[in-house]
């Protein structure tokens, strides 16, 4: 089974539309994904593919005041989480619970990842981590 691999870094902004030009200048992405509106996650997201060997940068905009990232955005936004890809989401959650990490959001499908499941945890080091399950046929 492959080790967890860093997939992207999440950064919360108040508006993707208003900040994307600045981000293009700041990090020179190779490509930019379409925007995804994920009602389940309560956020609009977009991915910037950075030049290799860097990982992706995810810009996250809260969809309304009830969004899980709304409070973070109200405090100014910024670096929010690391996302790791894992083979088996349930197994990873169990492993992290043994390390006293707190499960914040149970596994759910995510539109931005083609319906692949994600879960959110916070480690004892106060690091917010998103786990993304690899596609079953993904090597």
């Amino acid at each position: 089974m492959a080790e967890p691999a860093l997939h992207h870094v999440g950064y919360v902004v108040s508006s993707i539309a208003l900040s994307i030009d600045g981000w293009r200048s700041a990090v020179s992405p190779v490509s930019v994904s379409p925007a995804f509106e994920d009602i389940i996650q309560g956020a609009r997201v977009i991915f910037l593919d950075l030049p290799a060997p860097a990982v992706k940068l995810e810009l996250i905009e809260p969809l309304g005041p009830q969004s899980p990232v709304a409070a973070f955005e109200r405090k100014g936004g910024g670096l929010h989480h690391l996302c790791f890809e894992v083979d088996d989401l349930d197994q990873q959650i169990s492993k992290m619970k043994a390390f006293k990490a707190m499960l914040i959001r149970h596994p759910q499908p995510a539109i931005a990842f083609g319906g692949r499941r994600i879960a959110w945890m916070r480690t004892r080091e106060k690091l917010l981590v998103e786990y993304l399950e690899r596609a079953r046929n993904q090597v």
């Binding site: 409070a71 973070f72 405090k75 707190m102 499960l103 914040i104």
Partner: protein, 80 residues
């Protein structure tokens, strides 16, 4: 106040240092402006550490006041 309650007061004091001690037992998300979703995560994390329990955030959904959190802890304590 019992032991559980005292320990929960200690948790609140760590997360909301500006909250007067005598106001903690009636504290609720609706009457503390600092109590947002980030503070809730911090609070549950501190509670997990204090009581040595694995916290499942979604199982504590809706527990956004001191009395509600105390009730959940009593339930867990009763099961344990």
């Amino acid at each position: 106040m019992d032991n559980l309650s005292d320990r929960l007061v200690t948790c609140f004091g760590l997360v909301f240092p500006n909250l007067p001690l005598d106001e903690i037992p009636s504290a609720a998300a609706g009457n503390i402006s600092d109590w947002d979703s980030i503070a809730q995560i911090n609070l549950l994390s501190v509670i997990g550490e204090e009581f040595g329990i694995g916290i499942d955030f979604e199982q504590f959904e809706g527990a956004t006041s001191f009395p509600a959190l105390l009730d959940r802890l009593r339930e867990i304590n009763g099961r344990g």
